[in-house]
């Protein structure tokens, strides 16, 4: 059981150290145990260094940088134990264009083996969809499903 935690932790960490730079276009990140000796009680720390910046307190990161770090970790966990189904509600909201584009690339890759339900307001994310559902309230207070045409270009 301790064994298993240690194994999983190392696996997730290996993936995280690879997903982070791929997702943000550089930099580095890793997980660390708060207490190496006590595998039953230990917590997990995150150390992250955005491209070109120094290693700093996680809280000093910007809104978008925190989101990207979290997403990179989610992807790492996903690679260790993929769920057949994944739901993301507006996770792309804090991301700028460059980060949003890299996020969409990794999303597409993961969606080859799992189903994704993604709620978004972002046009670029919509363009990655295999299926697009429009929800509207033509009659106020009553939601309906409508088919959506993405204007081209």
């Amino acid at each position: 059981c301790r064994e298993r935690f240690r194994e999983t932790f190392d696996l997730v960490n290996d993936h995280f150290r690879e997903t982070y730079p791929r997702l943000v276009g550089g930099g580095s990140a890793r997980l660390a145990l708060t207490d190496d000796e006590d595998l039953l009680e230990t917590g997990v720390d995150i150390f992250v260094q955005p491209p070109g910046k120094r290693l700093q307190n996680l809280q000093l990161l910007s809104g978008g940088e925190k989101a990207m770090t979290a997403i990179a970790l989610l992807i790492a966990l996903f690679r260790v134990k993929p769920s057949p189904f994944c739901v993301l509600d507006e996770v792309d909201a804090p991301l700028d264009e460059a980060n949003g584009a890299r996020f969409n690339d990794m999303l597409r890759e993961m969606s080859r083996r799992s189903q994704f339900l993604v709620v978004t307001h972002n046009r670029k994310t919509m363009e990655c969809a295999d299926t697009l559902y429009g929800v509207t309230m033509a009659r106020p207070g009553v939601s309906r499903l409508v088919s959506v045409q993405l204007p081209t270009g």
Binding site: V80, S83, V87, D130, V135, V142, S143, L145
Partner: protein
């Protein structure tokens, strides 16, 4: 295991029977503020056994029943049904192992009467939870990210983050 359809009827802002057909890959849900997108996400969570009204943004569980609009009356119950297909590497567990497809359903009446179904037969909530334990549908910390929650694991304590590792173990 794959989701093939999700059906809402009387759930939150969906008084009329509404069916979402899920294909492979990425399904995007789009629409204006307040149109019902996150309500679809809530329907998924709820259908597979969510017990906390607060995590569905309500104060009581009956808050998920369509409460009416300016030109429509409230309804008497909410119902969500989820249809799943087994795949060769992920068959259904236990007594359902031989099935290729099954449907999980939940209904809540305004009286508070609550029911769970698998293929039209009444079951207990725990039967649904056990059936879906490894599916990542609604119960998985890292495959279900709600609105505003994306950086939660950054602001979380080291102890809380550890739970994510445990889930992936």
């Amino acid at each position: 295991m794959r989701i093939t359809r999700l059906e809402l009827h009387g759930f939150k802002s969906f008084p009329d029977r509404t069916v979402f057909h899920f294909g492979d890959g990425i399904s995007c849900v789009v629409g204006p503020n307040g149109s019902g997108k996150s309500n679809v996400v809530d329907a998924l969570k709820w259908c597979v056994g969510e017990q906390s009204a607060r995590s569905l943004r309500g104060s009581e569980m009956t808050d998920v029943i369509f409460a009416g609009s300016t030109d429509r009356k409230p309804v008497g119950y909410a119902e969500v049904a989820l249809t799943l297909k087994a795949s060769s590497d992920t068959p259904f567990p236990g007594e359902y192992a031989q099935l290729h497809e099954l449907q999980v359903g939940r209904r809540l009446h305004r009286t508070g009467a609550s029911e769970y179904f698998v293929n039209q037969s009444r079951v207990r909530r725990r039967d649904v939870v056990e059936l879906l334990l490894d599916s990542g549908i609604g119960n998985n910390l890292y495959s279900f990210i709600e609105q505003g929650q994306v950086d939660k694991m950054i602001t979380a304590s080291p102890a809380e983050r550890r739970t994510l590792i445990d889930e992936a173990a």
